[in-house]
Amino acid sequence: MDQGDELSADGTTGTRGRRVARSRLSRLRPALGVLPFGVYLLIFLVVPTVTVVLGAFAEEGRPSLTNLAGLAEGSVLTALANSIAVSAVTALIGGVVGALAAYAVVTGAPDGALRRLVTSICGVLAQFGGVTLAFAFIATLGISGVVSTWLDAHLGTSLTSSVWLFGLKGLVLVYAYFQIPLMVIVFLPALDGIRVQWREAASSLGASTWQYWRHVALPLLAPAFLGSLLLLFANSFAAYATAAALVSQGSPIIPLWIRSALTSEVVLGRQNFAYALALEMIVVVALVMTGYSLLVRRTARWVR
């Protein structure tokens, strides 16, 4: 194809101009190969994102701030607060439990069967969200769930007559099911970076186990841990399917507000309100992910 480019130069321009044109042409000709994929991305990724951002600032085809103003309404603000609370709590639970599990794994044989098993199971479970996960917990702790029935019969609880699973508390518990494995996956590399020699050095200098953790290991792990928490936060903030299957009525969190804005077309009397909600979601996730990548860069400095 290179040779083809050389031959196809036309004779209308001067030698110099022709060479420039030719070099530009030979630079651009191969780029045509990425055009189909580029067009695909443009239609199915860039256009939707731009639609959301522009749509949030428009109403009935004209620039307007009414949709963004709608975000400040009481019930929407409550939903935002709930979303943030659920995400923060699940990130914290998932982060702490996941970090403990990762530590339990990493203290074993570095290439052992346990580690391989746990990492591949976590890989599967971190992908496992949505409707199926909701039903897993409905079968376990729902109104006629296996565990809730057993607990009611043996420990005198009243789980079978309660709907807590279908509210915010339920969401926190169910989200933990994919947050913990995700934490294990992202935190293992950071724990791998902790060298045995550091512990030996600390104890040869007379440090106790507590002092080692307090002054050596925890400060080193802190950026990676905080970064992972942010990742888990974003993961939970953007999760939709699990909540949609679990909470069939009302919109306690932002993703479910987006559902009602999309399915009922006009919420609060505004056509484009879904765009404003989606923009709010983009902004929150983008902020969190920026913090995440800053912390990861910090971690990368010493995890070698």
Partner: protein, 285 residues
């Protein structure tokens, strides 16, 4: 010696307790699903009725077929769009490598829920072109599987010397199409398999796009069916979990066997530093 042994014993106890409790949290819901879906609530015995309905109930079996066809369509479309582009970028358009990576990983940070809000107009236009069929979802699903497919393929391409292979083939007179299809692609089998498997698993678990665009895929049907028969929904959920888990375990065996032979550490670090490991999948699922 004794304090060391005591410390070791403490560590072992810690590991057993933590892994045991966490394992319990993950196993109990799965076992409960099995128990719940085979329970006979009338006679307190066992029944396989909910499981046989997976095949006999037309609502569900229809949705299963739709989802499987969608999975195949998505894989084909993804491979056709992504593989030649990624090879071509490596060979001829090196300046496009970074933008390509950025765009392919973008769906990890833009939640699927946001994409589907923005896609309403595109879908109207697709319905105009192709009619109101659920299979237009395949075009949208490629975006969802993009980051995962990109990572698998990128790892595969990095493991072979694409440029040398291409130069050798070219010097023997092969055209670019021959280079891509008959020289490079056969060297990517593992990467292609893992990209395909993870895409199938994601498509079969997808709910957000399908439900908000009103198409009856497997997950949407499971959710609807729960209103009339919770046991059937639970059985279908467990079946789809087991199927996806099987796919992903096969995948980790296929790609793990190769990954372990090359150094393990750098792979782990890459997962941390590329910024976005396997997250957001639950959000898409």
């Amino acid at each position: 010696m004794t304090p060391q042994r005591a410390a070791h014993a403490r560590l072992v106890t810690f590991r057993v307790v933590v892994l045991g409790l966490v394992g319990l949290f993950f196993v109990v819901p799965l076992l409960s699903m099995l128990d719940f879906s085979t329970r006979n609530f009338l006679t307190s015995g066992r029944t396989g009725a909910a499981w046989t309905k997976l095949v006999t109930d037309p609502n569900l079996s229809g949705a299963i077929v739709t989802s499987l066809v969608l999975a195949v369509l998505t894989v084909v479309l993804m491979l056709v769009l992504l593989v030649p582009t990624m090879i071509w970028v490596r060979l001829r358009v090196a300046w496009a490598a970074r933008p390509l990576e950025f765009l392919c990983l973008l769906p990890l940070t833009v939640p699927p829920l946001v994409i589907v809000v923005g896609l309403k107009n595109v879908v109207l236009w697709l319905n105009y072109l192709f009619g109101d069929t659920p299979y237009v979802l395949a075009l949208l699903y490629v975006v969802l599987v993009l980051p995962y497919a990109y990572r698998s393929l990128d790892a595969g391409l990095s493991a072979i010397d694409v440029t040398t292979l291409a130069e050798a083939a070219r010097s023997l007179g092969a055209g670019w199409a021959t280079v891509i299809v008959r020289v490079i692609v056969p060297n990517l089998t593992t990467a292609l398999l893992s990209a395909a498997f993870i895409s199938i698993a994601l498509v079969l678990g997808e709910f957000t796009f399908a439900s908000l665009l009103n198409y009856d895929t497997l997950q949407v049907a499971i959710n609807l069916q729960s209103k009339s028969d919770a046991q059937e929904s639970v059985a279908a959920s467990l079946a789809s979990i087991l199927f996806a888990a099987l796919l992903l375990v096969v995948l980790s065996v296929v790609s793990g066997g190769r990954g372990r032979r090359t150094a393990r550490r750098p792979a782990g670090r890459a997962a941390m530093t590329t910024g976005s490991p396997a997250p957001s999948a639950p959000t898409s699922a």
